[in-house]
């Protein structure tokens, strides 16, 4: 590993025209040049690009989630659960791309001292997992309810009469500042909860994986994950709702009306004309909350819109299902078959363990992995989808007020401001409103936003190297291992593609073997979920990453390839359930593969070959 060469994190010069980009992000994020100690620390660490969460450069406002998980993950490792050999995960940024590094505990005495508290604290969570998760659900639902209750109201010329009648003693200006603070606070709080169980969950996974790999050194990772498959989780519920609506449309005989119009507005006008149509619309409306808060992306970017933000997306997916039903094809997830196969695989591996103690350990670790699985999946719906989707829209409401006061030219410009800058601007805005004078912001922000737009454009053209600095021999941070799948092999594969001068010359590349099997077929590159409408039966989906709102694509395709994600990523999990090959985390599939190419996907080995 030591012979793996990655660039020095300090060698990157600003892209011409972006000088000063660092001010778009928190000041501690850029790599350091003027602090010798910090500079040396940065040189000694192994930084890898977090392409899993950030396939594109990050917007100043969207940094909120990076800071939120920076804090949350690290505090649980370091200060709460006392994970013995690792502290937190440190973050940096180059040209809008986030690099992270797990920070090891280097002093053996300190590691030793952290063991006792870990066993006690983590042990408490493992032992009481289901009870504590139930408590978690209450907390997270209350947090989302608080978020939904936040009102972002415009500033009136004259406060309402009741302010006086009720002796309220507060203005709408103060309310705006307060609402914004609450919004941010709820966001950070939500992420505090996000990591409460997650790292422990992943640690349980890693342990089960380790155990299986020790018993069966040749075991493919996907066989391990298969042993934990087929567990019902709410992450699939949005898709189930679409299937139910498709079935209902056929039952009510309104399927024709549902698929006849390309937009929801038009279809709903048509459906309103008949009682059956109205009945279907009522069912549709009922399914929307909360299930249509599912994001069309990962939820990490403000532009990852939810189904509720664009009802044409779920409508088109319902159309795909209706089409299947009409053709007499099944739209069920083959859950029973998956469970049967899971039990067979588990039983066969278990039978090969000859040592009684080892078999008992296998049973216990498998049990723990299955216990933690639902949380590991379900938290995504609550946090990244439901909470984030509502949150982005609330921030847009703040943006609308800023636009009304001339601070930004467009509501969508708000994402170019850091959350602290928005707070500052709102103070400027509110005090100017209170005083009835002109605010300073309109002269400052639109200009700055133009500069930042240029930066973002140039950042998008820049390819972040997969890793920087010195690779360690061992990684102990559970996240790094499971989520990013950082291995010698993956790093070498990334480096290889990066070194290729001409991307069109690449005929073979690899990713993680996400779901077994080999197929050859026509590729369809879908950059966003909107593109899945173009998918034809039997094509191979090539996507940056997939999320639950991509589910309808999986009934049409025969294999899936993604740029980002590990063996526990959405695409890998779904493909295993449908029994079709997947290669995930290829790094560059959407740039190398073009729609119409014939490609061969080997989900058993992770190899992709371009036939022509």
């Amino acid at each position: 590993m030591a012979n793996q060469n990655f660039p020095n994190p300090h060698e990157f010069k600003d892209i011409p025209g972006t000088e000063g980009w660092q001010r778009m992000y928190p000041y501690q994020y850029p790599f350091t040049t003027d602090d010798a100690k910090r500079n040396q620390y940065e040189k000694d660490m192994f930084w890898f690009y977090d392409g899993l969460h950030y396939p594109e450069p990050i917007y100043p406002f969207d940094m909120i989630w990076d800071e939120a998980w920076f804090l949350a993950l690290s505090q649980y490792n370091t200060r709460i659960f006392s994970v013995p050999p690792v502290f937190g995960v440190d973050h940096r940024i180059i040209n809008g791309y986030i690099y992270i590094t797990p920070v090891p505990v280097t002093n053996p005495k300190e590691i030793e001292a952290r063991v006792g508290p870990f066993l006690e604290r983590a042990g408490y969570y493992y032992q009481n997992w289901d009870k504590l998760v139930a408590k978690w659900e209450t907390k997270i639902k209350a947090t989302i309810a608080s978020l939904e209750a936040i009102k972002i109201e415009p500033l009136p010329d004259m406060e309402a009469k009741n302010v006086v009648d009720d002796a309220l003693g507060e203005s709408k200006g103060y309310h705006l500042l307060k609402a914004y603070d609450e919004l941010i606070d709820l966001g950070i709080r939500c992420w505090q909860y996000h990591f409460e169980f997650l790292n422990l969950g992943y640690a349980a996974y890693v342990t089960f994986m380790d155990f299986c790999q020790k018993q069966f050194p040749d075991i493919p990772t996907q066989r391990i994950t298969q042993m934990i498959s087929g567990i019902d989780v709410i992450m699939y519920q949005p898709d189930e709702e679409l299937k139910n609506l498709a079935r209902k449309a056929v039952e009510l005989g309104v399927d024709g009306a549902v698929v006849s119009k390309p937009t929801f507005t038009a279809a709903s006008a048509e459906l309103k004309k008949t009682p059956a149509g109205q009945q279907w619309l009522a069912a549709f409306e009922k399914a929307r909350y909360p299930w249509f808060w599912v994001s069309t992306g990962t939820g990490w970017y403000h532009h990852d819109k939810s189904w509720n933000d664009d009802l044409d997306v779920p409508l088109s997916s319902i159309g795909i299902y209706i089409d299947k039903i009409r053709k007499g094809q099944s739209i069920e997830r083959p859950l029973e078959a998956v469970r049967k196969e899971r039990d067979r695989v588990t039983g066969e591996y278990r039978a090969l363990i000859t040592d009684d103690a080892a078999r008992a350990t296998f049973d216990q670790m498998l049990g723990t992995a299955k216990t933690v699985f639902p949380y590991v999946e379900n938290h995504l719906f609550y946090v990244e989808h439901w909470f984030h989707s509502v949150f982005w829209n609330k921030v847009r409401e703040v943006g609308a007020i800023m636009k009304a006061h001339g601070f930004i030219a467009d509501v969508e410009d708000i994402w170019y401001l850091k959350r602290s800058e928005i707070k500052d601007a709102l103070w400027d805005l509110v005090t100017a409103w209170a005083t009835n004078v002109g605010p300073r912001g309109p002269q400052i922000w639109p200009k700055e936003i133009e500069f930042r737009k240029t930066c973002m454009k140039k950042f998008r053209e820049w390819k972040p190297p997969p890793a920087l600095g010195k690779a360690p021999e061992v990684i102990q941070e559970p996240f790094t291992v499971v989520l990013w799948g950082i291995t010698n092999q993956s790093l070498a594969a990334w480096a290889k593609v990066r070194e290729a001068k001409d991307i069109a010359s690449i005929k073979e590349f690899t990713g993680f073997a996400g779901s077994p099997g080999t197929v050859e077929g026509k590729a369809r590159v879908c950059r966003t979920v909107a593109d899945i409408r173009q998918l034809e039966e039997g094509e191979i989906l090539v996507a940056p990453t997939t999320s639950p709102s991509w589910a309808p694509a999986f009934v049409k395709i025969k294999a899936c390839v993604t740029d980002v994600g590990g063996v526990m990523s959405h695409a890998a999990i779904v493909c295993r359930e449908y029994g079709m090959p997947a290669v995930v985390g290829t790094g560059h599939a959407t740039s190398i593969i073009k729609t119409g190419m014939n490609i061969r996907v080997n989900g058993t080995t992770g190899e992709i070959t371009i036939a022509q």
Binding site: M1, A2, V83, P84, P85, V86, I111, V115, F118, L119, A122, G123, Y126, Q127, L200, A203, A204, V206, T207, D210, F211, Q215, F216, P217, D218, I219, P220, R223, R344, V345, E348, Y349, L352, T354, D355, A357, A358, A360, T361, Q364, M365, T368, A471, P472, E473, V474, I475, Q476, P478, T480, V481, I486, T487, N488, L491, P516, T604, T605
Partner: protein
């Protein structure tokens, strides 16, 4: 002893409870067939066949006479008696009935194998009372590439006479077995005419993974693989999903084929265009793995197996197991390695141990 007992029977009719009739080797072939393992087809001359030959030909009296009063410790005397007895046995003609039965089975075997006068291996298969001595009673008596009924009958006689080697006589005398009560069976089995052959382990011998099957393969006979003269194709197959999870197909420069006249393996250069070609089809590989699993299940332990894909017989029925024995490489390694540390008890303890070990990047 009922005269209705057959003198010949197919391998698939030989079961575990038939050791007395067909000997250990033939009955274990029958057991393997019933466990779902395909072996080269063939048939057995039963001990009944031997007995009829021994008792009806008048041999019995002559042989017993020669053995009378022999000193079991006088190896020289034993050897000279053995030589005389064996010569006598090999000179006695079979009954027409017996010859007809063997000829008919041999004819049917040839038809089944799609080869006129199919080359066979003729092997003795010792019965229970001879089992402790099987290592010397049967070991030498394997005759390969035997072709035509006359030759088959000739070598059957040689197998029969192997009951009377000096050491076998001495052994029975020591153990108090009457010489006229022992019997032997003979197996007649198609010679695998290997298009490809090699070995298979139902464990990964390099790391002890019991969920793996490792297959080594080259064109022609398995000798090139067993002797290490060639770097064979190597496949790692997952026993549970039955997928090939790793494969290596290097250039193979040579192979062995039989010279039927000299009945020896002859080395040939592999033509350039075939060298880098995978020597076994994936379908056959998986069929092999399936049989490997069945054999392991049958014997209850990881096995070391010799196999061949036969050139004569139609695809789908031509992947054969030639030999299976317990795997020893990994088992020996495991025995000498230190015992595993006591398993931690709680989930948190196990998870801690795993976190502490971390993931090696090197």
């Amino acid at each position: 002893m009922s005269t209705a007992e057959p003198v010949v029977c197919w391998f698939q009719e030989c079961r575990k409870d038939a050791v007395e009739r067909v000997g250990g080797k033939n009955s274990s072939l029958g057991e393997l067939i019933h466990a779902g393992v395909r072996v080269p087809p063939g048939f057995a001359i039963t001990t009944e066949g031997y007995r009829r030959f021994f008792h009806q030909s008048g041999l019995e009296g002559r042989v017993l006479d020669r053995l009378k009063g022999l000193d079991p410790t006088d190896m020289e005397a034993l050897e000279s008696a053995s030589t005389a007895i064996r010569a006598e046995i090999e000179a006695v003609p079979f009954t027409l009935d017996f010859e007809d039965s063997v000829a008919e089975y041999y004819r049917r075997l040839s038809t089944h194998c799609c080869v006129p006068a199919v080359p066979v291996a003729v092997r003795s298969s010792a019965t229970a009372e001879d089992l402790p001595g099987a290592s010397f009673a049967g070991q030498q008596d394997t005759f390969l590439w035997v072709r035509g009924v006359d030759d088959v009958l000739h070598y059957v006689r040689r197998c029969f006479s192997s009951l009377f080697t000096g050491r076998a006589i001495a052994y029975r005398a020591r153990m108090g077995f009457p010489h006229d009560k022992v019997a032997i069976s003979v197996g007649i089995q198609k010679m695998a005419n290997s298009a490809a052959a090699g070995v298979m382990f139902t464990i990964n011998p390099t790391n002890g993974d019991r969920s793996s099957i490792v297959v080594n393969s080259n064109f022609g006979f398995g000798e090139s693989v067993v002797s290490g003269e060639v770097t064979p194709d190597e496949f790692l197959i997952n026993k549970i999903s039955m997928e090939v999870i790793r494969r290596s197909v290097p250039a193979k420069e040579m192979y062995y084929a039989v010279d039927r006249v000299s009945q020896t393996c002859v080395r040939h250069d592999l033509p350039m265009e075939r060298r880098a070609v995978q020597s076994i089809l994936d379908e056959d590989l998986l069929e092999l793995a399936r049989m490997g699993k069945a054999i392991e299940k049958h014997y209850g332990q990881p096995m070391d197996i010799e196999w061949a894909v036969d050139n004569d017989m139609p695809t789908g029925g031509n992947v054969f197991i030639l030999q299976a024995r317990p795997e020893t490489v990994w088992s020996a390694k495991k025995a000498e390695s230190a015992p595993a540390p006591a398993a931690p008890k709680t989930a948190a303890e196990m998870i801690l141990a795993s976190i502490m070990a971390g993931k090696k990047l090197g």
